[in-house]
């Protein structure tokens, strides 16, 4: 797609996402991964790197990596190697992080999504397994920091994209799609507040056609809102420097949500030499074809596949189909409503309209929607069979949402929103209207079409809006011999 320019510069973005895998135990020890325990109560001898301890790899972590690899159409490496990334930091007990370097478990693959109606596909470089670090607590212990190693050893899948994103919006949509996918696959709980899904964003800018500029890496963004803010700030910061004739130094930066600014990390100042080498405690990880096949068989229908099905089976536009598969819950809601009323497009419209508008306003997930799929389907049916107008349907929907009732028909009656379908009654009212508006009738007969609309208005008024406008038109013209 054509790159949208910012102040004449092309923005180049690549993401590295750290996804905490939803295993019971840690990647190299039998400690629990549960969040929020008292400090260091879930840090075992292995997690603390006590002398003599050794790592043993968790099968569940590998299985989840395979699941992801299959879902993005990547190569699941039959042989991959764990390596040691050596650096000193208090939240890194061994003085090295066990990660994968030269040969990762997942190689290649791609992710597709829509950015303002336009489809975009981003290639993945790789996804590798590694261990999470602990946490440094910065609230003051008389000038000291406190180290909690409960998180140390939590399994991570680091997913690396190619630098193919061209705007904050694209980066955000990519991250959202990835976030939805890992939850869809059940390999991550997706809880961003608890750090289960973290984004590192590599940002650089260049004049169109020029080689890549020097990138700066924004670390540990844990909300999509911050991601957009941080990237936009960073892009303008970089352009400002270049415009001032200054150069960009490669750096790792942090985003401060309070100031909305990014700043270089002090702890990463000295150019690191991680001295990667294969971990002698861990022989090569071998994944047999039989294992991959087993995981493939257990894989849920993937969002992309499901979206295609919605296009072909239900005749949804591709964009709608994509929107109906942004999460497993959304897809389930859509399918339930669609099969209950058979009105695929109407269901999609309502979900993308009223439903999502209210969910966003109340910051709720679709599972929490007061109006479930069956209820929505019932409402849509009443629009279909002409019982109520669209406007009336919106009123009913409001009532349902507000919990005023759980029965569509009862609410229609209670609010008297049923459209008048009794033609005898309508005949009588129309005759009264014609009699009472002889002047308009004259004008109409004299050829003034505006007068007809006035008569329709009067008729609708007389029926308190319950009449079907189409029907009123038809009958009036008959009576006026038009």
């Amino acid at each position: 797609m054509t790159a949208q320019l910012v102040r004449g510069y092309e923005v180049v973005i690549g993401l590295e996402n750290h996804v905490q895998l939803s295993t019971q135990s840690k990647i190299f020890s039998g400690s629990s991964t549960a969040f929020g325990a008292a400090p260091n109560t879930q840090a075992s001898a292995v997690d603390l790197a006590l002398p003599g301890t050794l790592p043993v790899l968790n099968r569940g972590a590998v299985e989840r990596a395979i699941r992801f690899g299959l879902a993005v159409g990547a190569k699941v490496a039959p042989l991959s190697i764990f390596a040691r990334k050596n650096y000193f930091y208090p939240d890194l007990p061994k003085g090295y992080q066990i990660s994968q370097y030269e040969i990762p478990v997942v190689q290649g693959g791609s992710v597709s999504f829509f950015v303002n109606g336009q489809k975009k596909t981003v290639n993945l470089t790789r996804a590798h397994l590694e261990e999470d670090a602990g946490k440094s607590l910065h609230e003051d212990f008389h000038g000291m920091s406190g180290i909690d190693l409960n998180r140390a050893g939590t399994p991570l899948l680091e997913i690396v994209s190619e630098p193919e994103l061209r705007s904050a919006a694209e980066a955000c949509e990519y991250a959202k799609t990835l976030h939805a996918l890992v939850m869809w696959l059940g390999i991550c709980d997706g809880n961003m507040q608890e750090g289960s899904f973290r984004c590192d964003v590599n940002v650089s800018v260049r004049k169109p056609g020029e080689p890549f500029g020097t990138r700066r890496e924004i670390k540990n963004l844990n909300s999509f809102k911050f991601l957009i803010q941080a990237v936009n700030f960073e892009v303008n910061w970089q352009i400002d420097r270049l415009e001032d004739g200054l150069s960009i130094q490669q750096a790792t930066v942090l985003f401060n949500p309070d100031t909305g600014e990014t700043r270089a990390m002090r702890s990463k100042e000295d150019a690191a030499d991680y001295r990667y080498f294969p971990d002698p405690d861990l022989p090569p990880l071998m994944i047999g074809a039989d294992w991959v096949e087993r995981v493939k068989a257990e894989l849920p229908e993937l969002p992309a596949v499901m979206a295609t099905r919605f296009v072909q089976q239900d005749g949804l536009p591709e964009y709608d189909a994509q929107m109906m598969t942004t999460s497993l819950a959304t897809a389930r809601y859509y399918e339930a409503a669609r099969s209950a009323c058979g009105q695929a497009k109407l269901v999609a419209n309502w979900m993308m309209g009223e439903v999502s508008r209210r969910l966003n306003a109340e910051e709720k997930d679709i599972e929490q929607a007061p109006v479930g799929p069956v209820l929505l389907a019932a409402l849509i049916q009443r629009i279909q069979d002409g019982t109520i107008s669209n406007n009336a349907a919106r009123q009913v929907f409001d009532a349902l949402w507000a919990g005023e009732g759980a029965d569509v028909d009862a609410l229609i009656e209670a609010k008297g929103l049923r459209q008048m379908s009794d033609t005898g009654e309508l005949e009588r009212i129309l005759d009264e209207v014609l009699a009472a508006n002889a002047k308009s009738v004259e004008e109409f007969r004299a050829g003034k079409d505006k007068a007809f609309n006035a008569l329709v208005g009067q008729a609708m008024k007389a029926t308190k809006g319950k009449a079907n406008p189409g029907l009123v038109n038809e009958m009036l013209r008959k009576k006026l011999g038009g």
Partner: protein
């Protein structure tokens, strides 16, 4: 009893315990009554040992038949233990108490042994003379002005001096075989992965192996039996069954127990610069093996000399990473009032690591650093495979490989202070087997340096010489049987140092 109690070997003592002619308490008391003049022990726990011995005697009285019930020994201080402090011979672990026992320690405890404490060793097992211990040098019982070898120097000295019937050791580049040779005892380093490394403080993870040190092959078999076995906590631990090595060796006794055994002699293990008397002792041992029916055949290990640089690149590289966890944050020593994080790391590690450890950390850091990895570490790992392949080629023509353990007998304390790096060259015969992960033994075959005057002390020698036997993977049984046959026919392993 023909022998004094403190002189009893494991098998001998066990027989008396089973016959009710000796109690574990008597055995332990006899050992504790002997003074440690060699700096062999770092921690000797008389109270704990006596209590454990009484408990063992009670268990035996109650019909418990654990295989090593009541047998006294002590552990190289590289194994973590809950009941005794663990230092790895380093000031950085001063006062450390492990919350768990090493698997090897736990296995031996389950077999019923009584631990007398922890034994001296080179700091983090880095050394060939036990001169790098932060808690003082250990001395050779045959000549206390000489080194006992290393890194399991305390273990070798204690067993040779009859302070213990047996001890645990670890071997990364020869740390069981070389001190066994220098002190005239028997030691075996099994196939890499035979003994769990869990709870063995790591020096070089792809090389470290635990093994027993005792005065006979039979005693080594008894101990290794208990130490070896699969451990789910060590991803490099072998799922290989552990045969009954002692039963095997006893079954095959007789006049020609080694009939049909082909022993390969690599030319590279008998170079010009090999001490004449070491050569003589080794040849005498080989002749004895021949007399028992073994056939000596020539083999080649063309990359023997390359094993030195290969090992001294790989081991420090792994060590530099393994020792990063000693940072003064979670356990062990911490420097006085650090002014910031960097200061905490740097002063703790600089003040608490010894010179040799710091030297090897720097070598390893360099070897792995950006731009040098391929030239050094990767190249070394490729040569390592070539060295391992050389052994497989050699084993096509023989069942075992034999040669000296070291080019010389034990040297004088301080003799190599001037050039620590030069000392690396003395490991030439033990390194190839270590790099390949093969099982190896040291078996006493007499004495060297007789009449020769030591350059430093001017004293006459009379120092033990060990014969090195190397087997193919998982072939510990053949090694132990061969050594046992030799020891049934000869007395070298029975010689004891005097005056200690």
């Amino acid at each position: 009893m023909s022998k004094a109690v403190h002189e009893l070997g494991v098998a001998e003592g066990l027989a008396l315990l089973e016959a009710g002619q000796l109690s574990s308490r008597e055995w332990v008391d006899a050992l504790l009554s002997r003074e440690d003049r060699l700096g062999a022990f770092l921690h000797r726990d008389a109270v704990g040992a006596r209590a454990a011995a009484d408990a063992a005697d009670a268990r035996r009285a109650a019909g418990d038949t654990a295989p090593l019930l009541g047998v006294p020994l002590a552990h190289k201080d590289i194994f973590v233990t809950t009941e005794h402090p663990t230092t790895a011979g380093s000031k950085i672990l001063e006062g450390y108490r492990s919350p768990f026992d090493a698997t090897v320690v736990a296995n031996l405890a389950r077999a019923g042994v009584v631990s007398l404490g922890k034994l001296n060793c080179d700091e983090f097992a880095m050394g060939s003379a036990n001169e790098n211990s932060a808690y003082g040098k250990a001395h050779n019982p045959w000549d206390t002005t000489r080194v006992p070898g290393g890194s399991s120097g305390g273990s070798a000295a204690a067993v040779a001096a009859r302070l213990l019937p047996a001890a645990t050791g670890t071997d990364t580049g020869g740390s069981i075989r070389q001190p066994a040779s220098f002190c005239g005892i028997t030691g075996i380093k099994p196939t890499y992965g035979r003994c769990s490394r869990y709870g063995m403080i790591a020096f070089a993870s792809s090389l470290d192996q635990a093994g027993p040190m005792a005065r006979s092959a039979e005693d080594c078999a008894l101990l290794l039996q208990a130490m070896a076995g699969f451990d789910e906590r060590d991803a490099t631990s072998l799922q290989q069954p552990v045969p009954d090595w002692r039963a095997q060796m006893l079954r095959q006794e007789g006049s020609q127990p080694l009939k049909g055994l082909r022993i390969g002699l690599p030319d590279e293990f008998f170079p010009q610069q090999l001490d004449a008397d070491v050569n003589a002792a080794v040849r005498a041992g080989l002749a004895a093996l021949q007399a028992l029916g073994a056939e000596l055949v020539p083999v080649q290990l063309p990359r023997t000399e390359l094993a030195i640089p290969v090992y001294y690149l790989i081991a420090p590289a792994e060590a530099s990473s393994n020792l990063s966890r000693f940072d003064g944050v979670r356990y062990g020593a911490r420097c006085e009032d650090p002014k910031d994080l960097l200061d905490l790391y740097q002063r703790t590690r600089t003040e608490r690591f010894g010179a040799e450890v710091q030297r090897r950390i720097l070598i390893g850091t360099y070897v792995l650093s950006h731009g040098y990895y391929d030239a050094y570490y990767l190249q070394a790992q490729k040569l390592r495979r070539m060295i391992a392949d050389d052994f497989q080629a050699a084993f096509k023509g023989c069942d075992l490989i034999a040669g000296p353990v070291a080019p010389t007998v034990a040297w004088s304390i301080g003799a190599q202070d001037d050039d620590p790096v030069k000392a690396y060259l003395a490991d030439i015969f033990t390194l190839p087997g270590s790099l390949a992960g093969l099982p190896g033994m040291s078996v006493p075959v007499g004495f060297g340096a007789n009449g020769m005057l030591d350059p430093v002390t001017g004293k006459p020698g009379g120092m033990p010489v060990g014969l090195q036997l190397l087997g193919n993977y998982f072939d510990e049984g053949r090694l132990l049987h061969t050594a046992h046959a030799l020891q049934q026919a000869t007395d070298w392993h029975r010689a004891a140092p005097q005056g200690v």
